[in-house]
Subunit: 208 residues, 2 copies
DNA sequence: GTTCTCCTGTACTGCGAGTCCAGTTGACAT
DNA sequence: ATGTCAACTGGACTCGCAGTACAGGAGAAC
């Protein structure tokens, strides 16, 4: 396919890689344009400033994550129409996909932005917020459907449960980055899967 | 007590607050010394460079977290000698402590460092790594003791379960920062508590 | 052959990190 | 009283990077 991505996409590719490796501030425009093979002026032609770059990166990242979730949980639902089983399959697929990434998940642009807050304008922060809320809503809806059919073993706040998917992933990415391990993210997703399984699987207490 | 912390501590206090609000790079030495009321030269008298500041902040943060865990899980164990119940009490206490922080948890220096990697030298990264591994070991040991007495309902990787405590906390802090909510961190810790409860509580399948 | 998009090149401002170093101030020691 | 040491101040400097300004070029599209 694309032997040549357009320059703007090329910049985003290079920038994303560098930012996830080193942090946003630590990535200079100088090195980005060197890697892309354009001039500094060329960069500023495409992006007003670094803030615009951050915004574009975030938008792209959020879209990609949404597409990944659509794909994984869509496929899972096709495999099994039961909402609980679909969720469990989806989480397993997700863990597999994340484990198969060549160098482990590179990190989350959302968290990167969260920890370098002041660099970004309100728009960027708002974008970030909306993405997290959308994921909460997405997973909450899925858990609601499950909870209707399978009463949870413990009382549970479905918003918190929805947040847990993004939260566990974010946290695991941090751990993975710090530890330099490749398996951590998948392992944590599988822990979450076990939780969901236990929470919604039919069972009876051992004692009356 | 301390009407006057010494200057070095004062710098660390001011810097930690600023860094967690804005990110490390976005915090200038200029504004730190202005807030502390010393000169730039005064700053460099105490810290060789910003890296030294980061290292000192990390060390302090890790020590404080360890002290918090010692306190919370120590108290929990005093309240109940059963390892599972102590863990459940400890997680509840932890959620309460974190929820009671005035402005929510300010963020995690570990994650902040993880996402601004290149700024720091190997020593800082190693420090970070050791802290995460120490927490893994700490919680793993607690879960091992629990698993001996209460066979887990699902096969579980105890390292991953140990990591989950720091991981869920890290992830929740990110969510909380992005969402601007105060309850997220406590809610996520309570989700983890529910997972632990379900995983280790005695039960029997509903059908033969 | 004009116009538009996508650049290049140069030259500039301004900020913040980090260095160097000379000098000050107050406490404490002898 | 004298010396000395830790904890600073102040000023001057270098360097790297973000961002601005603007003039101009190369190629496709009409």
């Amino acid at each position: 396919m694309s032997g040549k991505p357009d320059t703007k996409t090329h910049i985003l590719n290079v920038a994303e890689k560098a930012v996830l490796e080193k942090g946003f501030e630590a990535t200079s425009i100088e090195e980005i344009v060197a890697a892309v093979g354009i001039s500094r002026s060329g960069f500023f032609y495409h992006f007003k400033d670094k803030n615009a770059l951050a915004r574009a990166m975030l938008e792209r990242y959020i879209d990609a994550e949404n597409a990944l979730f659509d794909d994984v949980f869509g496929r899972a639902r096709e495999l099994n129409d039961d909402p609980l089983h679909a969720m469990l399959i989806g989480l397993k697929l997700l863990a597999e996909v994340l484990a198969d990434l060549p160098n482990g998940h590179p990190g989350c642009v959302i968290a990167a932005a969260a920890y370098q807050d002041r660099l970004f304008d309100r728009g960027v922060r708002e974008l970030n917020r909306e993405a997290i809320l959308a994921w909460r809503a997405r997973f909450r809806a899925m858990f609601e459907e499950i909870a209707e059919r399978y009463p949870p073993a413990e009382p549970v706040d479905l918003d918190a449960l929805g947040d847990m998917v993004s939260g566990v992933a974010e946290g695991a990415i941090v751990l993975q980055k710090v530890l330099g391990e490749r398996e951590t993210l998948a392992a944590q997703i599988l822990q979450l899967r076990t939780y969901v399984k236990l929470l919604f699987s039919p069972r009876a207490p051992v004692s009356a």
